[in-house]
Amino acid sequence: MTPERKIRIMVAKPGLNGHDRGAKIIARGFRNAGFEVIYTGLHQTPEQIVAAAIQEDVDGIGLSSLAGAHDYLFPRVVELLKEKGADDIMVFGGGIIPEEDIPKLREAGIRGIFGPGTPIEEAVNWVRQNIKPKK
């Protein structure tokens, strides 16, 4: 019996926008794919998200944003993870993100960016391929 790591993902909604349709759909999609999903709820500050991710020892954080505040909030999460020495936790994001913002976000360390209309399956597969199991 070799023990197998269960994938643990945090789904978080930073910022004041409360539209959680996308976050809820992806959380369900991840659960149905057999992941453990820690859902933080709405209106989270980057500080809260990072503290929670560390306490939960997740493999990745999926951020959802629909209100244009991603350009501040997403990079801030990555920055705080670095500060806490937890940058092995992968950050990816989804929502409405204009094409022109994508290079900046990638540079800031957001590993995956899923635009509107991304099928659930695609996000699930991306996680499976990109999450390195913890040692």
């Binding site: 453990e36 820690i38 929670a52 939960e56």
Partner: protein
């Protein structure tokens, strides 16, 4: 440095990694647990159980607020069910407590049941130990409120709190006898609703009629409106009173003895089984045994007997 050493020096990441290893059943986790075991046994453990949606997480959130004002550090283990169909889970208890996540004195960990019954996860008691080793004064365990057998919480906690809600069909008749026996403290949450007083009266009468407890403790009943933080202060002091009572009558010692024994037997149980199964699987003996059983060429009782004889001899 090993995870255990780091944890004892206050490294949060190490603590949460060990919890992960425990939950994922990594063999290394047991090595680390061996190293922290002697540093545990200091935290006071409170279990909270009750039907789904009764307000357990909200109560935990408000309780933590009071404990933090008293400068007590807190660990929280919140258990939610694993989906039996997909093996996945959405762990949402944390939502109600998220405001405490940036407080260094609070550590919240969400767990999925991963197939275990009893309202808590198989890893719960080991994860409690990690929090204990981290130096948390109080550890709160929120169980899954699926109406399964919640008795495991009694073995895990020093004080068990049972949450009920008025007018939701769980009036006294509907409440399983079991749940009445496990509660040291009863909370009638959402007490702003109709029927709270009636539920309190009925509960009181039933508890008074019930068999006297070994420790002589008469369960306390509190009415709360967790959403607005009403009645929480009283609840916290009720928990302290229970603790004092346990201490005063030496019952705490007995409880801890029972708890330690239960835990030891659990570990013995799972380790024995895992070890033996692993050995049987290694040389494909397991398949052959099952095959023999299927064809009725052997019976399971004799085989287990034989294995135990062999294994115990071999290992001692």
């Amino acid at each position: 440095m090993s995870l255990a050493e780091k944890i004892l020096r206050g490294d949060i990441r190490a603590a949460s990694r060990l919890m992960r290893d425990i939950d994922d059943r990594m063999p290394s986790a047991m090595e680390e647990l061996k190293k922290i075991y002697s540093k545990t046994g200091n935290a006071y453990i409170i279990g909270i159980t009750g039907p789904p949606g009764s307000g357990k997480s909200t109560l935990v959130d408000k309780t933590v607020e009071i404990l933090r004002k008293e400068r007590k550090t807190v660990g929280i283990v919140a258990v939610d069910p694993t989906s039996p169909f997909t093996g996945g889970a959405i762990l949402g208890d944390r939502i109600r407590m998220q405001r405490h996540s940036i407080d260094d004195g609070v550590f919240i960990r969400s767990l999925a049941t991963r197939g275990s019954l009893g309202g808590i996860s198989r890893s719960t008691s080991d994860i409690i130990k990690v929090m204990d080793a981290m130096g948390k004064d109080i550890i709160i365990v929120e169980t899954v409120g699926v109406g399964q057998d919640e008795v495991d919480i009694v073995n895990t906690a020093h004080t068990s709190v049972v949450v009920l809600v008025p007018g939701s069909g769980d009036d006294i008749q509907a409440i399983k006898a079991g749940i009445l026996e496990i509660g040291d403290i009863f909370v009638i949450n959402k007490c702003e609703r109709q029927g709270a007083d009636r539920l309190e009266m009925e509960l009181k009468a039933t508890l008074e009629m019930g068999p006297k407890r070994e420790d002589g403790w008469m369960p306390l009943i509190f009415k709360t409106e967790a959403l607005l933080g009403k009645g929480i202060f009283e609840l916290v002091y009720g928990i302290y009173r229970h603790r004092e009572k346990l201490l005063a009558c030496d019952y705490l010692e007995k409880k801890i003895f029972e708890r330690t024994k239960w835990e030891f037997l659990c570990i013995l149980d799972s380790e024995l089984r895992d070890t033996i199964v692993e050995r049987l699987e290694k040389d494909k003996r397991l398949d052959k045994i099952i095959d023999d059983l299927k064809r009725r060429k052997a019976n399971p009782y004799s085989i287990v007997e034989k294995i135990l004889e062999g294994e115990l001899k071999g290992s001692s």
